[in-house]
């Protein structure tokens, strides 16, 4: 991963900006939502690959900051929603597309189906993914200052 940051640094102009945008493991919330209400029905379960991936990415950014390649300027978290018409579509997506990263316990599946079944006609199912955005500025190293 450090090599990726090295390449980005190379192709960035002096004073260039790097935006790091990525989801963070946080046992994302599962909800049934309609115009009238939001009902929480459980959380997904983070799998080791998801957690280890976050740790590795964070360590990489700390590493490049220590090397003086980039300087962190701003960071924030925001919710990013994945939304489906029905619980079964949500379950299919989680089981297929996210199978390496998160799991969905049976009690959460049941609670979501039950809540959706009695929700208003516009009821949908969604997962609230926690996303981080950070702005980094390309730093001039001491060696470059000398040059």
């Amino acid at each position: 991963m450090v090599h990726v940051l090295s390449e980005i640094r190379r192709v960035l102009a002096p004073d260039g900006i790097l935006i790091d945008l990525r989801p963070l493991a946080d046992n994302w919330r599962v909800e049934v939502v309609s115009l009238r209400e939001v009902k929480r029905t459980g959380r997904v379960e983070d799998l080791p690959e998801q957690i280890n991936g976050d740790v590795a990415s964070n360590e990489t950014m700390l590493d490049v900051e220590k090397r003086g390649w980039f300087k962190r300027e701003q960071e924030e978290l925001f919710p990013f929603f994945y939304s489906w018409d029905t619980p079964s579509e949500m379950e299919e997506f989680v089981d297929d597309d996210w199978k390496d990263f998160v799991g969905l316990a049976e009690d959460t599946r049941q609670a979501t189906r039950s809540a959706w079944a009695v929700a208003d006609a516009d009821g949908r199912v969604r997962v609230r993914v926690e996303v981080m955005i950070a702005r980094w500025r390309k730093a001039i190293t001491n060696l470059e200052n000398v040059e």
Partner: protein, 98 residues
């Protein structure tokens, strides 16, 4: 499938809050099918959108809006060996790809 990703468009709002892309040379790494790319590329000088997934890139090229054809260059590239000259971009976006 009825999947909607980010129906409130929070991601693009935060991106604009964090960086001014106007008339900038932008490199997006991990563009996938171009979901985020299309939302900001119009205001850039030039956007290079890279991914290793050739199937996703095929979709991105097919669905690329005609008014953005001159703005976006989709390319298959390994982020560990970026095939671009030194200091070519003003802004790099790691889009869900670190």
């Amino acid at each position: 499938m009825s999947l909607q990703k980010d129906p409130d468009r929070r991601e693009i709002k935060f991106l604009h809050k964090f960086v001014d892309l106007t008339d900038k040379r932008v490199l997006e790494i991990g563009c996938g099918e171009g979901r985020l790319t299309w939302q900001y590329a119009a205001r850039t000088r030039q956007t290079t959108a890279a991914d290793l997934d050739v199937n996703a890139l095929r979709v991105a090229r097919m669905d690329n809006p005609s008014d953005l054809e001159d703005k976006i260059y989709f390319t298959c590239a390994n982020s560990e060996y970026l095939p671009f000259a030194k200091e070519k971009f003003d802004i790099a976006i790691l889009a869900w790809s670190l």
